[in-house]
Symmetry: C2
Amino acid sequence: MDEQNTIERCDYIHAHEDIIAKVNENMPDEEILYDLAELFKIFGDSTRIKILYVLFESEMCVCDIAQLLNMTQSAISHQLRALKQSKLVKYRREGKTVFYSLADDHVRSILDQGMEHVAE
Amino acid sequence: MDEQNTIERCDYIHAHEDIIAKVNENMPDEEILYDLAELFKIFGDSTRIKILYVLFESEMCVCDIAQLLNMTQSAISHQLRALKQSKLVKYRREGKTVFYSLADDHVRSILDQGMEHVAE
DNA sequence: ATAACATATGAACAATAGCTCATTTGTTTT
DNA sequence: AAAACAAATGAGCTATTGTTCATATGTTAT
């Protein structure tokens, strides 16, 4: 009750009441925004982006990806785990080999949207 | 010439020649992929995502955003700088006040694509 | 010019992330 | 069962990042 807002505030808020109401109305839940940020974090690393581009062509095993990107098996495996946890890639095992592939079309559309912005 | 590839390799590469050729053909330049990752890094923080959602409703000054998100002016200003550098927001000065707004429609489409994936 | 306000910025610190190295797990072959 | 191979994992190290705090810059009003 007597807890004070310690954040500095400007003398008067510029935004009108209706705007503020709309912001609060349309702002997704904290949890969703957190998840969204986590998802984009995954795209925020060029190694992972390269892996995704490789998988655009075909499913591929860890070692092949490592060779194509000239990186260690361990580094690729760690990154594939992140991609897996975000449900951006899926995998199937075939003997000793594990083949990874893109989970769905979102990967492509998200990267394409980003590309459009970067290309400008 | 005598520089050796120190990366471990599997006994045989699974991917066929034509696949490897296509990967190398369709893989964007290193520099582009770096820029792309940098762009997604910007989306990879929930504070910045919140700022963008706020700006969906209306242009807004730094202090208003800070109040809406209950954060310090400094923190918001720092993040707005990142958004500005990535050309995701633009600004105009009106006296002491600086109003920020979304730079273009890419912001919305990128966030929407991400949302689609998260919502699953 | 001075005071007041809005914003920007730099240094510092804690938390996070990506890579390497060593090792483990899972599978196949002998 | 043992050896060999592919992949996964954990610890450790360095680099990066988001916030805070203090201060500087830019603009307006007195």
